[in-house]
Symmetry: D2
Subunit: 341 residues, 4 copies
């Protein structure tokens, strides 16, 4: 049987190139078209020597495909996707353009008026652990942001089961690849090495996603303070989440681990661990490690999660969603174990 | 006038060697004796080639000095210090042995019964910004832990001025030198690089110090959840502190910066900044950067502080205290500006 | 058809654990036995959380297998292997114990008298690009050292084709994982980060391998000065090799690239490139990039090669050899593209 | 006595800002003017928060100074300097514009025709260990490049004493700050971390400096192959230099160390060491460590040197030259010991 054809719009960022790396080895699909903007016309190997095995040329326009991934930046992504949606091509969008259900959030957080607010309702938020069934049927899937992926997987069980007060702090530490391949002073090597800093202290764009999805799990509003930090490594996000336990919900320390294990039972990529996880333990893989623990001095729940921001936080999750959409085994093409050390 | 003689007990850890580096260039004292255990009898340069300028031999026993620094580990430090205190030598202890006022905390946190509980009351907690006057007169000063230094300088103004509810979260990110020079798997290069993890999730030894000092600032108890993280760099601690603002205390966003600036007015080493600070901005210096900001969505105070854990978090603070004890200008020997990039 | 059973002796070092990672996903063999010394009796996941997918217990003794990999240190490896060889188990040894043909080199370089000098002749040096046919028939294959792999692939074409004078300098830069998982001060994070140094300046143990194999390619002796350096990254070796071109052999600059391309034609894992390669371009993969260039000012050949020391320099090459020995496609289980960035 | 006034033209690069850091604490001069191009009009602290102690504004034009440092890029530097030279201001130029004696080299290596070839003869190459007396009297000093500083200090004794054949290989490993503060893909954090690569393989601009100065030490021509590599750390250069020993010049291994010690006797910043040096041992200091050793298998001299590229390789050397020019103690303002770890 002929493999389905897939394409990547804007392969030249870190998420795009990671998609190409993974899709090229996927047994059920064929990567048949890749586009770029400034790099159009170049052989992929000339821009990304590590992908020398993939003998493709970066095109200006997407060829005929059965399913397309967009790795465009926000705003441009919606523009690129809209005509494809009309033609009936199934789309997996890695930008933020279809993550938020409320179109009025876009001017606030992303400085543009959404061009297709009607599509926001149709788009599915592509976190399989929460929206698997909708993803299977979706024509347009919005891949969650890297921070929301880690934060939501850390918090969903506690929020949905109602064991915490919803006054939540998420303190995240991200590797530098999350800032992308576009040059900037803060991601210049000599500036970022030997350095830790917080950023977006007045509100990071991933905050409304986190709130939207947590509130959708329950019928109460949540108050999330989210502070991201840049740490000197290329891949990985560790999120430390804090919330007060409701009295009477969790009696003993081990109960919270049990609750989490039950919640994620059968999930191929979420592993509830009983020791503090490390980002290196997921490097290059689609796993998310989740570690819930109770600060018994103050009856506070702490949940720590780790992902590789470019895999479970971007390209890997996109392929997981594709597998669900196309009826493949969910782990297909994502079997590689983490690279260590 | 002859310079005062100072000595370092156990020069061979990272805090000890940093003390030697700084004291050797101090204009008012003479580093006349250094001791080590396994390295006794060796030239300093053979163990620490970067200190080749210092032509000294590591001794087994401390020589005659006017003031001694102890860079021994906890428990051993108290044992080494007690006879010196009796002889009237002024002591600056970098271990935890005289930081806690309540002797019953030592078995709980450090697994030993304190050998000189009476000295705990006499010892002064050596954070100059809070205890300057007592330090000036002290015979025994306990240098604060690296994490407490950053956390206390971030929180003291808010706690003392009573603008926050005392349910506080301190999420700290430390470079690896804080774990010392003793070998361990978690500080093996291949394990620590490209990696972030939380540790001591059930309670880090620096927690009781933070609580003791915050409670001493006010007459209410505080609930602190403190979670330290290891990040891949050698020096630096960034602490992100979270607490709810009391209603009515802070009306406008800038007021909190003003309150902090007023609190630290005249402090030579604390700088209240109006942009998120970075650990690299204090690398190799005794500065502490403090950045208070309000999450106006939820009326939450966030305070971020940065220090170099080996300078303001250890050896530099020890010299600052020595300067105060000996009546020198407080910045003497600590003038070097941060190394960047 | 039942998969062949393979085992790993001493899985607990970095080469062993990398073997486990790769073998677990190999489609044609089944990893059925793993041993360790101090870790015997523990679940693999407890020692290596990144391998949580592999539900195996580390044993004290190897079970029944069709082929065994030894990841023991030198000397111990020979001892562990000898009885297996007698039982007819095919062996792939990652230690140095069967790399050198001349048994008298072992006391000089490795401080022990070889216990089975007769096996040295039977063992095959497992560099497929040079010894593929012998590997196919071998009962005992010695995986080349990480440095020799990079150096030999850089130099073999020039030496065998006789275009250079055999007075050769190899200046290698290695990531820290090459020093293994055993703790040492020089691989302590705070010491190794932000640092570059040369080591083994009086002769590194990998030198006799390089000389043995280069001399076997031609009938003249070679003079190799080999200087390894430690650089702050976990994986990768870049070797810069220098030799004078014989007059009249290479007329134009491009000829040397052509000669190299011809030499490595059809090799699945050696890629001759025309821009300076970077270690990151092979991270996590079995590729070796080779870049030959001429310093036309002085008619000097420079060849730069890059490998991942744990893959092509150890576990990946071992699997490549296994594939050859067992008649599988040579790339089986080694298809993963390099991880970047 | 009023301090002499000094200024920095283009303070905003890494060499400029390092100069500011060091000059601000220099006891004999006053940093009275700093200029920048795009940053003109801004407070220094706003561009470089680590220099908050220095309360200065970046100006568009240099004020009245007794001596000026230029940290402009090549070509622009000559243009900025020429009018100052005419006004009799003493100049220390950190660019390449006055390093080469032969004006015809500039079009070849730097792509511009030198605007003041007559000044090239008057300018002094500012390596104090070779040109101290000329520096003392100079009106215009050209600070050596970072690579030439390390390479020349490694090779000068051997070349001047005539113990080696002058067919020399210099393999250098540099931290990323050497590439400056200007953004580029190869110095983007995610690209440079976990990576080693060679660059400028067809000839680096620092080569003609190395050749010029080595040839000036003797009356024979030298053949230097120089290959620089980028390694993932911010500061430091380690150069490994290789050359064949002339027969009969060095009988025993220790003689070469003795020869080097004698050559550098009394030099305040060059330390001949007897163990392989590490770049971290000079971090933040003006020291150069030099380690000569003989590969006795092939009678080859290996010399390894380490510097901090921003101090001895740029700003520190500039201040050392200033001290010589102004008759100060040569170490004034450069006493800080290396920062470690």
């Amino acid at each position: 049987m002929a493999k389905l054809k897939v394409g990547i719009i804007n392969v030249t960022g870190y998420a795009g190139v990671e998609l190409a790396r993974l899709l090229y080895r996927h047994p059920k699909v064929s990567l048949s078209s890749i586009t770029g903007r400034s790099a159009a016309g170049q052989k992929l190997v000339n821009v990304f020597p590590h992908l020398a095995e993939i003998d493709m040329t970066i095109a200006a326009e997407l060829g005929e495909v059965d399913l397309a991934f967009s790795a465009m930046p926000h705003k441009s992504s919606a523009e690129a996707i809209m005509p494809l949606v009309e033609r009936g091509v199934r789309i997996i969008d890695m930008s933020a353009d279809f993550r938020l259900k409320d179109g009025s959030e876009y001017p606030k957080w992303y400085d543009f008026t959404h061009p297709a607010p009607n599509l926001l309702r149709k788009a599915v938020y592509g976190l399989p652990e929460i929206h698997r069934d909708e993803i299977a049927k979706a024509g347009l899937v919005a891949i969650p942001g890297c921070y929301p992926t880690g934060a939501l997987l850390a918090l969903a069980p506690a929020v949905e089961e109602g064991i915490i007060h919803t006054d939540i702090i998420v303190d995240s530490k991200s590797g530098v690849s999350g800032a992308g391949r576009t040059l900037s002073l803060s991601t210049h090597y000599s500036e970022a090495v030997d350095n830790v800093c917080a950023y977006s202290v007045n509100g990071h764009r991933h905050l409304p996603e986190i709130v939207q999805e947590l509130e959708a799990l329950t019928n109460v509003s949540v108050s999330v303070t989210f502070l991201p930090h840049l740490v000197p490594m290329s891949r990985g996000i560790l999120s430390s989440c804090y919330a007060s336990l409701k009295q009477g919900t969790i009696g003993k320390k081990d109960e919270v681990i049990e609750l989490y294990r039950h919640y994620y039972k059968g999930e191929p990529f979420v592993r509830v661990v009983d020791k503090p996880p490390e980002t290196k333990q997921v490097w290059g893989s689609n796993f998310c490690l989740v570690y819930p623990v109770v600060d018994t001095r103050h009856n506070r729940l702490i949940v720590i999660s780790c992902i590789d921001n470019l895999v479970k936080g971007a390209a890997g999750q996109a392929i997981q969603d594709m597998n669900i959409m196309l009826g493949f085994t969910e782990t297909e093409g994502l079997e590689a174990l983490p690279l260590y050390p």
